[in-house]
């Protein structure tokens, strides 16, 4: 918004600019802030208001699920500007603090800004109350913050994942005002594909290795079918003493690996 006005373009009409300018020159320095913007028929209806509304699009696949040893968080790393792949190495997991993770879907700036603000609020809570904030409280803080801006064009679909004294915690929070607690969620344009694999393979008694493989496989299958997801699968595991980054696998390598494996 501010960037666009400084560069002298018509503010807020990002999509229109994108469609026309993309054929010839790719202004990367302008398209950078708009990483995830891919037209998704399902979410386009949401912002069918006046023209000033910025259309944010959710070209990504992120997922998280609880199991007996904690929470697995798996995300892809592709960013698209229309049909152009702007980046294959985007970090879609935001490390709020050493025991809380947030995922990124929707507007990149919205997600990283609000989750950074959430990190600040969590730290203040810790200082005031001398104990770590619970996942429920952290997600409620985030939900209340973005609810103030409901209808004003924020686009954020995030999962807040952590481990607190009630065990593993997983909440889905979005800019619409939804906040739900659950055992597994997937967010983004590729979420439908990931849900299929995830729901099929999920059991309560998964081992850490099996759970990681399930998360990895679900994201891979989503990147296989969804054009707007791809790059690298980043996998995190949230344990009782904090999160660890488990692996980073290029989707192409996974493709070769799964091709050789029997089904």
């Amino acid at each position: 918004m501010a960037l666009a006005s400084v560069l002298g373009r018509e503010s807020a009409f990002f999509n229109n600019n994108k469609q026309s300018s993309l054929g010839v020159n790719l202004d990367l320095h302008v398209s950078e802030p708009q990483d995830f913007f891919v037209r998704n028929a399902a979410s386009a209806d949401v912002f069918s208001g006046p023209e000033e509304k910025i259309e944010f699009l959710h070209g990504t696949t992120t997922l998280a699920f609880k199991f007996q040893h904690g929470v697995i968080v798996a995300v892809d790393s592709r960013a698209t500007a229309g049909s152009y792949i702007a980046s294959q190495t985007v970090k879609k997991v935001i490390e709020i603090n050493p025991y809380l993770l947030g995922t990124m879907a929707g507007g990149a700036a919205d997600c990283s800004f609000w989750e950074r603000l959430l990190a600040r609020q969590c730290r203040i809570y810790e200082l005031r109350n001398k104990e770590r904030i619970s996942v429920a409280a952290a997600s409620k803080l985030l939900a209340n913050m973005v609810y103030q801006y409901k209808g004003m064009g924020l686009s954020m679909g995030t999962m807040v994942c952590g481990w607190d004294k009630r065990g593993p915690g997983l909440y889905y929070v979005d800019s619409e005002g939804n906040r739900v607690c659950g055992d597994s969620f997937s967010v983004g344009s590729g979420s439908v594909y990931a849900y299929g694999v995830l729901d099929r393979g999920r059991r309560e008694d998964l081992s850490v290795e099996e759970a990681c493989e399930l998360g990895r496989r679900a994201i891979y299958q989503a990147t296989y079918r969804d054009a707007y997801s791809g790059g690298v699968v980043n996998l995190y595991h949230v344990k009782s003493d904090g999160w660890v980054c488990v692996s980073q696998d290029d989707v192409a390598d996974l493709h070769r690996k799964y091709l050789d494996e029997p089904k």
Partner: protein, 186 residues
């Protein structure tokens, strides 16, 4: 589409809500509770726009509890319903109206059971039975035909799963969840 139903009996109110929390084509949760306990004998059932439902219902819930703390006794169901409606009405013509449809069910120790129907335009009606959602189109006619004020009613609903609760002079009781009838393989 989200569904709520309430039926008033001679000395109780029976309420049920579906348990699906959906976001366009995805069912995010299949065990979501849409009822908010305002006090020991008052339940608020709330459906509507994402975010507005929880924010509005929790706002009403906290204010009802605050009344109890300040005054030492609870709001009656009638007073709670009118308070809720007033809030909806005040916000209706503001920049941030709450798009929520509500059923408020309660038991008053003096006046007995009560069921109130409220919608997003802040209408309020005390009714012997009421429903919200597409399901209402189908169930209201059944209730019109078969409802008798002095009988306890058993009703069967054919949606995935329901949270059913009963409010009477003893308070709020959870009844068994009604699951989808499981067929053999499919």
């Amino acid at each position: 589409m989200e569904y709520l139903i309430g039926i008033q009996g001679p000395d109780f109110v029976l309420v049920a809500a579906d348990t699906v929390a959906a976001s366009s084509i995805i069912q995010m949760k299949h065990d979501y509770d849409k009822m908010f306990k305002l006090s020991e004998k008052i339940l608020l059932l709330c459906v509507g726009e994402a975010g507005d439902t929880v924010q509005f219902a929790e706002y009403i819930q906290k204010n009802v509890q605050l009344y109890k703390m300040r005054n030492g006794y609870e709001l009656s169901p009638d007073a709670a319903a009118n308070f809720t409606r007033k809030n909806l009405a005040d916000y209706l013509r503001s920049r941030t109206p709450y798009h929520v449809n509500l059923l408020l069910a309660g038991y008053d120790d003096h006046d007995g059971p009560a069921l109130y129907y409220m919608d997003y335009l802040s209408s309020l009606a005390k009714a012997p039975f009421a429903a919200h959602g597409y399901g209402a189109f189908l169930t209201l006619s059944i209730l019109d035909r078969y409802y008798k004020p002095d009988e306890s009613v058993e009703f069967i609903l054919n949606l995935p799963a329901f949270n059913v609760r009963l409010i009477d002079k003893h308070g709020i009781k959870d009844l068994e969840k009604l699951p989808l009838a499981t067929t053999s393989t499919s």
